[in-house]
Amino acid sequence: MRGFSRLPRSVRLWFVPREIREEGTTPDYRFSLANERTFLAWLRTALALIGGGFAVDQFLPDLRWGWRVGLALALLTTGVLCSLRAVNHWVRVERAMRRGEDLPVSRFPALLAVVVAVVAVAMAVVVLLGWES
């Protein structure tokens, strides 16, 4: 993924926040707030996926252990990736706005959609076919 090749630089910015302020000019505060809301929306998506992981574990107790844990871990891993991506994308957009560059594009939404679709289909198949213990 394109975003991941630039990860070291972005990760450094999480921990050295002053660096981001030294670049370019401060954008209109409304743009920063819009970026913040997008970040929060991604964080909610991540929290929903994590909640889904808990729900699979709690509300499908008849499922075989492997399937239950596998589906729950798939959802939890997607949630972790989603929140990492949320903060990484927020930093990249903030930096692009300060420099007056185009906003970064990302393949992540499409990948997330595919992963969620696959997990949903797997869950439907497993529950309908009754692969229960």
Partner: protein, 102 residues
């Protein structure tokens, strides 16, 4: 538009976005507590329960402090530290979940 309120109500919308996210975090934390105590209150369950409660509290305080900053007429941008901390709370919750599920 020096001190005038933004007609697009951007700070208010951002404040509500923080509230929604805190609510989502609450739902995840409640599910975590339910999972942790489902086993009948084992030592691991109680520790995980306390950890999830602490993470939820951390997120709540983070949201609260950001909401206070947003009350200014022209609020400063979110700091990378706050953004990282919010994401870290989420990730730690997921790690807790993974430990509980396995």
């Amino acid at each position: 538009m020096s001190d005038a309120r933004d007609p697009g109500l951007q700070p208010e919308r951002t404040r509500l976005a923080w509230r929604r996210t805190t609510l989502a975090c609450t739902v995840a934390a409640v599910l975590a507590v339910k999972t942790a105590l489902a086993g009948g209150g084992s030592a691991t369950g109680v520790v995980a329960c306390a950890l999830c409660a602490a993470l939820w509290l951390g997120f709540l305080l983070l949201a609260q402090s950001r909401i206070r900053t947003l009350a200014a007429p022209r609020p400063a941008a979110l700091t990378p530290r706050a953004a990282g901390a919010a994401a870290l709370c989420t990730i730690a919750l997921a790690v807790c979940a993974a430990a509980l599920v396995i």
